[in-house]
Amino acid sequence: MIPYNFDYEKPSSFSEAISIYEKWEVDGKNPIYYCGGTEIITMARMDQIQTKGVIDIKGMPECLDFGWEKDQLVIGAAIPLAKLEEEKAFPLLSRVCNRIADHTSRCKITIGGNITGKINYREAVLPLLVADATCVIASKTGMKQIPIHDVFDGKVQIQPPEFLLQVRVERKMTTLPYLSEKRTKIDRIGYPVVSLAAIHAEDGIRIAFSGLCTDPFRSLSVEEELNNRSQSLESKVQSAIEKISVPILDDHHASSAYRKFILSNLLVDIIKEFDEVSE
């Protein structure tokens, strides 16, 4: 039960959404954009989110788009993870989505919400990072297309009233060999101790991580080490781990030593598997 009252609007266009946002901001309502609601409802209940105005973006067509537009896969921000899991348009994304939360939650959690939410893991972003996806952002001046690497730096760097409308992925990225692995404290379902998504592109392995450090990331210097042909498998992995420039998490889900242990096992497996594919 949410211990406060708030206004709710479900506009049918992004420009309408933006103007509601601006008005409510002036009114001191601390507005938030709303999609699947799994995070907002559960956090508001615990008083971890305060708002007097909720703007539901599920009413605008761009957010509900899903399909191919020429050689681009268009995914609206309001598409639930369960749908991405079923429709295997981007198999790596389907696989990653399959391991986020449980099925009941996945029917509600949207890709936009998962990527832009407050819970740090944001695992749905991993395939987008390795696939060099493009973000479509609603702004006062219309839609903007920006490479994900310019928008996402651990968290989505979009300043409200702008918000994420869509993500787009090039077809060729969806056809590359891919792998994804997730380890939790114990259960199949749970927050990641380490979650990773990788593809084998022409230029080598691309890989992104969640659960390992505070925020999800893709690191070119880690990839460089993993693709270093002059090194043995073990030393590649070792040097790759050393290249992780942010501290490895140490919390009640797992110690950092255990995370490193899991990570090095997973990296060895991934390199081996990709090697088998490419041979």
Binding site: P3, Y4, K185, I186, D187, R188, Y191, V193, H253, N265
Partner: protein, 777 residues
């Protein structure tokens, strides 16, 4: 007409599976108010100031109550717990203030407006913290609390209770021991995690009647406590309990009912509901106790156990509640089902700055069985004996005595030997305890044995009343709460069997209402079928005697010439000469209109016999009426590369005396095993450095999921308990008890290091293998 042993579906099953069954929180009424608790963010802190000025002005607020408004202390053995914190808080989540408002969200919003100033006090967050020299004291005023004379708190320490077992001669025991094993064990507090969170409503009527509706396993305790603490005459306290969505011991503790009463009192007796959120159910209401234990055991080279020295340090949390009694029960049964003549045990319940603990399925036995059964495996390993052979050599039998020197008979204990042999066959022990399977994974098996007695009050009693409808069908009234265990279905079977009548003709009143139902001690300790079942049989006997007496004057014979079956009273010598029960149970009417007899009302009662208090210096005494025993086995596939494992199979063989409802008993045991696996593999609270509970939601407090269940195999052995209904023994908790050590025994074999700490997550196994320390002591 045999219904005993049949798999009769639960009589409330249809209501449950169609979603029509109602639980406490489902009941609302117009004008009902809502209460919410403000709880402590600190584990141990002095309350400097509480300012409710702003909160009182908040919309919808009717009343705010704080600790100083209710200067009483409660608790089942030591009365040390204030209903709302007084002077200081002793655990994260402790209630500090209560707000009553028109709606729940308003009460919740107002709680946030209460300003509380705290001053930190050094915390006691482990057994080691509690026991150190000059410790921070959780209860500096322990001496001033009233208590019953069966607990032994140690003033100016954090020891809430100490129970001693001194059996035989330790000197002789060690002298005769050729090998000795010594080890330490640990598991943290965890939760009952019942599907239904706790909830209570209270209303005080102008005539002084207090009506409580609650999700409780102990409605008669609620009644007594409202009387004891608020001086309401007993006959004016009416406690009602609808179906309860899982108790597991956690709802035998009385907490929200007293708070709901105060809330109602604060608003002039209006009806007030107080419902826990999941977070409150985890941190504010009592939990499953934690344990630090040390076991030293000695045996001859041929594998005869000669001595055991056992120390239990129970992590009881901020208040003693049932923790002190759990620590006692653990001492009295400390060896598990093994014959050991020389036993020394000190069992301590410690005050710590955790949520206070209460009864949990298995009551002391799930706790004691983990260290004991791990030690038994370590002993077998040291002796290079097969762990099953070693157990079989030492299992306890009729003629032996328990650690508290209670005598075991053919009736009061089951057959551990037979249970273990059957479990051995069912887990296919002959295939080997450890085998390598595909991808270098290892298949391992572990076993354990267990026993459990009920540790009931020595005068615990139950009643049953049966009345008849005019068609001859029967109504049964008793005080057992339906918590999902299916006892009421079993009681209907017992009654149907005695009347040799169709089950469909028995109606059991599902809800409990202390105003009308005869008292049953508490719905705990796997003892309802034993206690109330006996009361029901006596009520049936009483009614049958009345029926036979009446029928005898119609059929012109002696009452002894008559028996009852299939809805009739008939002449034994000529069953054709019979009368329908419907023509007797509301009085018999002759053709001329004259009537004799009257309504038949059967009454039956039961009281525990021969239980004794416990000698404080030696632990001698008789704790319970019987010991249900069993053997369990677990098979897992372990991956030495990732330290993950897959649960493949879990086996329980339990001697329950007599199977009354096969599927019912099997379901109870299977559910218990699943709960045991949750406890063994993942459940357990973690805390931050401030002593705050980190896992207050199912997001991170992990439980077994449906897809992770192994294959369950449940079988029963039937060694009758002579004084049990149709020979039955309790079986509600037992599936839970030995699962954790069976799993730990299997995994210890797989990783080749002793795993003596729960829960067994891949990380904890990995850490142990790397040689990190297990013990907080």
């Amino acid at each position: 007409m045999d219904v005993i042993g049949k798999s009769i579906p639960r009589i409330e099953a249809e209501d449950k599976v169609t979603g029509r069954a109602k639980y406490t929180a489902d009941f609302s009424s117009p004008g009902m108010l809502h209460a919410k608790l403000l709880t402590s963010p600190h584990a141990h802190a002095r309350i400097v100031k509480i300012d409710t000025t702003e909160a009182k002005k908040a919309p919808g607020v009717r009343a705010i109550v704080t600790g100083q408004d209710i200067p009483i202390r409660v608790g089942p053995h030591i009365q040390g717990r204030p209903l709302l914190a007084i002077e200081k808080v002793r655990h994260h989540g402790e209630p500090v203030a209560l707000v009553v408002a028109d709606s729940e969200y308003q009460a919740k919003a107002a709680c946030k407006m209460i300003k509380v100033e705290y001053e930190a006090i050094p915390m006691v967050l482990s057994a080691a913290d509690a026991l150190k020299v000059n410790p921070s004291l959780v209860h500096p005023n322990l001496a001033s609390y009233s208590k019953d004379n069966k607990v032994h708190p140690e003033i100016n320490t954090n020891v809430a209770n100490r129970t001693k077992i001194r059996k035989g001669s330790m000197e002789d025991g060690w002298k005769q021991s050729e090998i000795i094993v010594e080890s330490s064990f640990f598991f943290p507090q965890s939760d009952h995690a019942a599907m239904e969170t706790r909830c209570a409503t209270a209303e005080i009527f102008p005539n002084g009647v207090v009506e409580i509706l609650t999700a409780s396993q102990a409605p008669y305790d609620v009644k007594k406590l409202i009387h004891d603490h608020f001086f309401v005459p007993l006959e004016k306290v009416h406690v009602k309990v609808p179906l309860v969505g899982g108790g597991f011991g956690g709802k035998a503790a009385v907490q929200l009912e007293l708070l709901a009463y105060i809330a109602s009192r604060a608003v002039n007796g209006k009806k007030v509901k107080l419902a826990n959120s999941r977070e409150e159910d985890f941190m504010t209401s009592p939990t499953h106790i934690g344990l630090d234990a040390k076991v030293k055991m000695g045996a001859t080279k041929t594998g005869q156990i000669m001595a055991a020295e056992i120390t239990f340090y129970f992590i009881g949390g901020a208040y003693s509640d049932e923790g002190v009694d759990i620590s006692k029960a653990a001492a009295l049964n400390c060896t598990g089902p093994y014959k050991i003549d020389n036993v020394w045990c000190d069992s301590l319940c410690l005050f710590t700055n955790h949520t206070y603990a209460t009864s949990f399925r298995g009551y002391a036995h799930i706790e004691l069985t983990f260290p004991i059964e791990r030690t038994i495996d370590l002993m077998a390993q040291k002796l290079q004996m097969d762990p099953i052979d070693f157990r079989l050599k030492n299992v306890i039998r009729p003629g032996d005595t328990t650690p508290s020197c209670a005598e075991l008979t053919q009736s009061n204990i089951g057959d551990v030997f037979q249970c273990l042999n059957r479990a051995k066959a069912l887990i296919h022990w002959e295939e080997g305890q450890k085998t390598v399977v595909e991808n270098e994974r290892i298949k391992v098996k572990g076993v354990s044995c267990f026993w459990k007695t009920s540790t009931s009050s020595t005068n615990a009693s139950s009643g049953a009343v049966i009345t008849f409808n005019k068609d001859g069908s029967i109504n049964l009234s008793c005080g057992v709460v339906e918590i999902g265990q299916g006892t009421k279905t079993t009681l209907a079977q017992i009654l149907a069997q005695r009347f040799k009548m169709d089950m469909g003709k028995i109606h059991v009143m599902m809800d409990v209402n202390t105003e009308v139902n005869p008292e049953h001690w508490k719905t705990v300790a796997s003892s309802s079928t034993y206690m109330v079942g006996n009361a029901v049989l006596r009520a049936a006997e009483d009614a049958i005697q009345q029926i036979c007496r009446l029928a005898s004057s119609v059929l012109l014979c002696n009452p002894e010439d008559i028996d009852v079956a299939e809805g009739k009273a008939y002449l034994k010598s000529n069953p054709k000469k019979s009368l329908y029960l419907k023509d007797l149970v509301h009085g018999y009417q002759y053709q001329n209109g004259n009537a004799i007899g009257g309504q038949v009302i059967g009454r039956g009662s039961f009281i525990m016999r021969h239980l004794t208090h416990i000698d404080p210096s030696t632990g001698k005494g008789i704790p319970g009426p019987s010991w249900t025993v069993g053997a369990q086995a677990v098979e897992v596939i372990f991956d030495p590369k990732t330290y993950t494992y897959e649960l493949k199979k879990a086996v329980s063989v339990i001697d329950l005396g007599k199977v009354l409802n096969l599927m019912g008993a099997t379901g109870q045991v299977m559910g218990g095993m699943s709960m045991g696996l949750g406890f063994a593999t993942r459940e357990g609270f973690t805390y931050n450095g401030e002593g705050q509970v980190l896992d207050t939601q199912f997001r991170t407090y992990k439980m077994m999921r449906y897809g992770e269940q192994p294959e369950y195999v449940v079988e029963f052995i039937e060694t009758p308990q002579i004084d049990g209904p149709y020979g039955a023994r309790g079986v509600g908790e037992h599936g839970t008890i030995g699962i954790a050590p069976a799993l730990a025994n299997a995994l210890s074999l797989a990783v080749e290091v002793p795993l003596n700490k729960l829960p067994l997550t891949p990380e904890t196994i990995w850490q142990t293998k790397r040689g990190e320390s297990n013990d907080s002591l």
